[in-house]
Every structure is written in structure tokens, then in C-alpha cells.
């Protein structure tokens, strides 16, 4: 099966970043990393492709920068990447992004499209469903386990109280939660090989789409900070302070 995995390069979450209060844009550094959630999607995609003699194509929208995050996924074993970069896409919302990704994915034939349930930086969590609707395929969402058998994709879908088993014929879109599989680490050979793998950087003109949206950020402000409380070193008796707080809160 041929698998498309939607991937996103994001600023390193370990380094704080924010929306500019004036422009309302996120200033993206040149060196962006692969969204951690996507490593799980890439791993699942590779497993399906390996079992069925297919291949994995990465599809990503956003400033290409040094392509560090994309190369990370190529080093894991994806065959090639399509990156859509266009100044008109700065500050794009999920609806805009879905229209762009759908146009890119439709240029080739895929049996399975995989995406994370949500990105770590934006975390709107509706893009994969928008994409599935545009592609006209079922969306198997919140998969914590995925298997394929004779052209049927079966997942365990997380619910608030447990999980459902859901199955679907292909073509299909699957969203994965992190922690579903153990993402492989790129080997030295993989890292060297990734440098030669094709990365097709294209613009909106190449796709022939000019997506629009109808929402606008009107204000950005810092969230009120919680007053930080008392921090003490445990000298063996700190549990007594916990008891006092529990008493004050009237829970004991």
C-alpha cells in the first residue's frame, strides 16, 4: 500500500515560543524539528508500507527552513517528501491547511493517509477530519493500534471510557495518538540515505489552489500567571506540610 503521512515541522517545544502580539503570527525559526507526534505516524506508515510492499511519502505544509524535521522522517525510512511553502500561507488556520494538503495528496494515489490527532504547537485537532472529508474517505481517528489485512485497515479507536475496534476499506485516513507504537530511531545508513531522498518543495501555484478562510485573530495577550506558592525541600518531614494543606482544603 502507498501511504501518505502528514508531518509538521514545529519550533522546538523545549524553547519557549509565542505569537507576536502585533502581527499575530508565530515567528518560526529556520531550524524546526519534526513534531514528536508525527514520529508515531511515520512509524505506523512504515509498518503498513513494509507489510504490503508499498512506500511512504511525507506531505508537509509550512516554511521549509533547513528541512531538518523532514529529513528526520526521511531518515526513519520514508521514500520522499512534498513540502508546500508559500508566503501566502503565513498564519494559515486548519481549514486553509486542509485544503492545501488535500490538493497535494490528490496529485498521487494513496491507500492510506496518516496524520497525528493534533499538532503539538497548534493543537486545534480538526484538520485530519477536514482533510478526510475533502478526500472523500473514511476517517479512522484516535488510533492507538493499527493493523492491515487484505486491504482492510483495522484500528483501536480511543474513546472517553475505553476503546472501539473500527475497520474500513481503503482508501482511508487514520489519525494516531502518540505512544501507539515505538518509533524507530534513524540508523546511520538511514541518515546518510535521507540526504539523497527527493524533497519536492512547491508553492500554491504548483497546486493550482488559492485557499481562503474566514476567521481572524483579533487579540493576543499573555495568560494570567498563577501565583507560585511555597516550595520546600524534603527533610523527611515534608509530608506533614501536605497534611496541613489537605486539612485546610477540608479534604481530610
Amino acid at each position: 500500500m502507498n501511504v501518505a503521512v502528514c508531518t509538521k515541522q514545529i519550533p522546538d517545544p523545549a524553547a519557549p515560543y509565542q505569537l507576536d502580539a502585533e502581527t499575530h503570527f508565530l515567528e518560526r525559526p529556520t531550524d524546526q524539528i519534526l513534531d514528536d507526534t508525527d514520529r508515531y505516524g511515520v512509524e505506523m506508515g512504515l509498518q503498513v508500507a513494509e507489510q504490503t510492499d508499498g512506500s511512504v511519502t511525507l506531505v508537509s505544509m509550512g516554511p521549509a527552513g533547513s528541512l531538518q524535521g523532514i529529513r528526520q522522517a526521511l531518515a526513519m525510512g520514508a521514500a520522499k517528501a512534498i513540502v508546500i511553502e508559500d508566503p501566502a500561507l503565513q498564519g494559515a488556520d486548519s481549514w486553509t491547511t486542509a485544503q492545501v494538503l488535500a490538493a497535494a495528496i490528490k496529485r498521487e494515489e494513496f491507500d492510506v493517509v496518516i496524520a497525528g490527532t493534533e499538532s503539538t504547537d497548534g493543537s486545534a485537532g480538526v484538520l485530519p477530519q477536514q482533510l478526510a472529508e475533502l478526500l472523500g474517505v473514511p476517517s479512522l481517528t484516535f488510533a492507538k493500534h493499527l493493523e492491515q489485512e487484505d486491504g482492510t485497515i483495522r484500528i483501536q479507536r480511543q474513546t472517553g471510557y475505553g476503546y472501539d475496534v473500527v475497520e474500513s476499506p481503503t482508501p482511508v485516513l487514520v489519525t494516531v495518538t502518540s505512544g501507539v507504537v515505538e518509533p524507530r530511531y534513524p540508523t546511520f545508513k538511514g541518515i546518510m540515505g535521507a540526504k539523497k531522498k527527493p524533497i519536492d518543495v512547491i508553492g500554491l501555484g504548483d497546486l493550482g489552489v488559492s485557499p481562503t478562510t474566514t476567521q481572524k485573530i483579533v487579540e493576543v495577550r499573555p495568560a494570567p500567571e498563577r501565583a507560585s506558592g511555597e516550595v520546600i525541600e524534603d527533610d523527611g518531614e515534608a509530608y506533614q506540610r501536605i497534611l496541613q494543606i489537605l486539612e485546610q482544603a477540608k479534604v481530610i
Partner: protein
């Protein structure tokens, strides 16, 4: 303003977040309507009436995953009755339906909201982004319905505006291949003791607990305090506890009276799910851990030494 709330049936009842959103809808409009996805029952509809639902559009489900056909049914309803706002919860099925409806109608969704403001014709959504470090106000600038996805626990669920709702049942349309996914099994993970969403005390375990075996400590503490047990994504990913205990951006959102974070560093993704707890107590051996900036009482120390003493003291008081 016509305000609708999309509510999914969960284990035979309206999903709890649906009642939170319906309470909010009542504050925004006089006669909120509910689009209800599920088997439906007189009890469920009466409950929605006790929260002020004037009209219920009932979309019955079958063994297919309902997102695609449910979104199509909702699109037809929206085209017929022309609501201004449709509110959804940040839950798996709500997100599925909201996303698909958005693409079907060519409209944006504003997600991750914590509040909705209606001022004349303008609809604005307040969201917390980047783990709650910034607040963003986003306005809709195009045609209705405006689709909003709101986080659980953004509003309290309070009955009021008692009605006997009108119920209109609409069928699930055939959406072809997009609706081909079938639910073949449903598993309920049994949980003992208070449920996370409504417990007044939550004892939560992070990677700093060291091992799955050490979770017997947080479990015992939870028993003694009649608390619900929670966990971080790292602990769920490690397979120590099921996903249904996960607290954070991709898990549950809790606001208990007391939250006890055991061996939790307080990463952004976790903080989003618990930072609005009334009192936060944290035990962690790394004094630089971000959780200490959030808590009311922080203990810098070995959680596996502090907890046994705390447990012993609580047992002695029983």
C-alpha cells in the same frame, strides 16, 4: 442568535460536556437547540429539556462510525434551519463531526476554545494556546454557521430553563465510501472509585514515580483520600496505566479542589489539563521542574520516600 449544541450520546446518556455547552448556550440565547447523535431515549431528551434545550434534532446512529454521515446530516439541518453558531466539545466524535462539517460547508472551525462571546452580529472565541501561556481572541468573518470546538470544563453544567423539547428525528444519509468505517467492538475500561472528571481530589502519577510497581503508592493515596487517579502522557505511553486516566491536552481536563502531582515535571501538554485545579500539591526531585511554578505547595524530594510517610500518617488517622 440561533445557537446550537452538538451532543454525542455516550453510554446511553448525553455526553457530560454536552450539558456544559448547553448551559453556556442558554446564557447566549433564549431557545438553544441540540443536534443529538446517538440512539436517543425519552430519558435523554427529558434531561436535555431540563437543561433548557427547546428543540432536539435527533440523528440516530447505526454500527457505522457516525462522523461522515453525522456531519452530512448536520449540514442538511444547518442549511434548512440556518443556525448562527454550532458548539462542539473537544472530544473524539465531536472533533470528527466538526472537522467534516467544516469541510463539507467550506467554513473554518475555531477549536480549543474556552469561551464564546456574542456581541450583536459578531462572534468571538477565546482560546488558550501553547499550553495556556497565551490567550487568543479569534473572530469569525464569514458566513454562518460559525463552528466552535470548546474544551471540557470551560463551563459548569447546571440544569435550568426547563422545557419540554420538540424532537425532530432525521435519518443518516448515505455518504458512500466516506461512511464505510464500521465499529465492530466496543470496550469499556472499568475504573474503580471516583471518576476523574468529577472527583474533588485527584492523585496523579508521572514518570518520576520510576516504575509501574511504584504506582501502588499513588493508588493507595488515592484510596485514602477517596480521590480519582490520573496520570501523565508519559506514564500512559509507557503502558503503566490505560489512556482513560490521562490528564492533559490529549487526555482529560480536570479542575478538582486538590490535585496532587507525584513525580510530574509539569510539561505544557500536562499543565493544560490540570492548571485550573484549586489547590495544587507537587512532589518532584528536580527543583527546576515547571510544575513548581504552578503549585501552591511544592516538595522538592523523592516522591517514593514522601508518599509512604504521607500514607502512613493518613492510615493512622483513619
Amino acid at each position: 442568535m440561533k445557537v446550537w449544541v452538538f451532543i454525542e450520546e455516550s453510554q446511553g446518556e448525553p455526553a457530560p460536556i454536552g450539558l456544559e455547552l448547553l448551559t453556556k448556550a442558554r446564557a447566549l440565547t433564549e431557545a438553544p437547540a441540540v443536534a443529538y447523535l446517538g440512539n436517543g431515549s425519552d430519558e435523554a431528551f427529558a434531561q436535555l429539556g431540563s437543561y433548557g434545550a427547546a428543540t432536539i434534532y435527533h440523528i440516530p446512529t447505526n454500527d457505522h462510525l457516525p462522523s461522515a454521515a453525522g456531519a452530512a446530516a448536520l449540514a442538511t439541518l444547518a442549511e434548512t434551519y440556518d443556525p448562527d453558531v454550532i458548539m462542539f466539545g473537544l472530544t473524539p466524535t465531536d472533533r470528527d463531526v466538526a472537522g467534516r462539517l467544516s469541510a463539507r460547508m467550506g467554513l473554518p472551525v475555531i477549536s480549543n476554545g474556552i469561551d464564546v462571546l456574542i456581541d450583536g452580529e459578531s462572534v468571538t472565541v477565546t482560546s488558550e494556546i501553547f499550553g495556556g501561556s497565551q490567550i487568543v481572541e479569534t473572530a469569525f468573518t464569514g458566513k454562518t454557521p460559525h463552528l466552535v470546538v470548546l474544551r471540557p470544563k470551560s463551563f459548569p453544567a447546571e440544569p435550568g430553563g426547563q422545557t419540554t423539547p420538540t424532537v425532530e428525528t432525521v435519518g443518516l444519509p448515505d455518504v458512500g465510501h466516506a461512511g464505510a468505517a464500521i465499529v465492530t467492538e466496543s470496550h469499556v475500561e472499568e475504573r474503580e472509585g471516583p471518576q476523574l472528571e468529577d472527583a474533588s481530589v485527584v492523585v496523579s502519577a508521572g514518570r518520576g514515580m520510576g516504575s509501574a510497581e511504584n504506582l501502588s503508592l499513588t493508588q493507595r493515596l488515592a484510596e485514602l483520600l477517596e480521590a480519582a487517579q490520573g496520570a501523565t502522557r508519559a506514564v500512559v505511553d509507557a503502558g503503566w496505566v490505560p489512556y482513560s486516566l490521562q490528564i492533559g491536552q490529549t487526555g482529560k481536563i480536570v479542575k478538582p479542589d486538590v490535585y496532587i502531582a507525584c513525580g510530574i515535571s509539569g510539561a505544557m501538554q500536562h499543565a493544560v489539563g490540570m492548571k485550573d485545579s484549586k489547590v495544587i500539591i507537587a512532589i518532584n526531585k528536580d527543583e527546576e521542574a515547571p510544575i513548581f511554578a504552578l503549585c501552591d505547595l511544592g516538595i522538592v524530594g523523592d516522591v517514593n520516600k514522601v508518599l509512604p510517610k504521607l500514607i502512613e500518617a493518613l492510615e493512622a488517622r483513619k
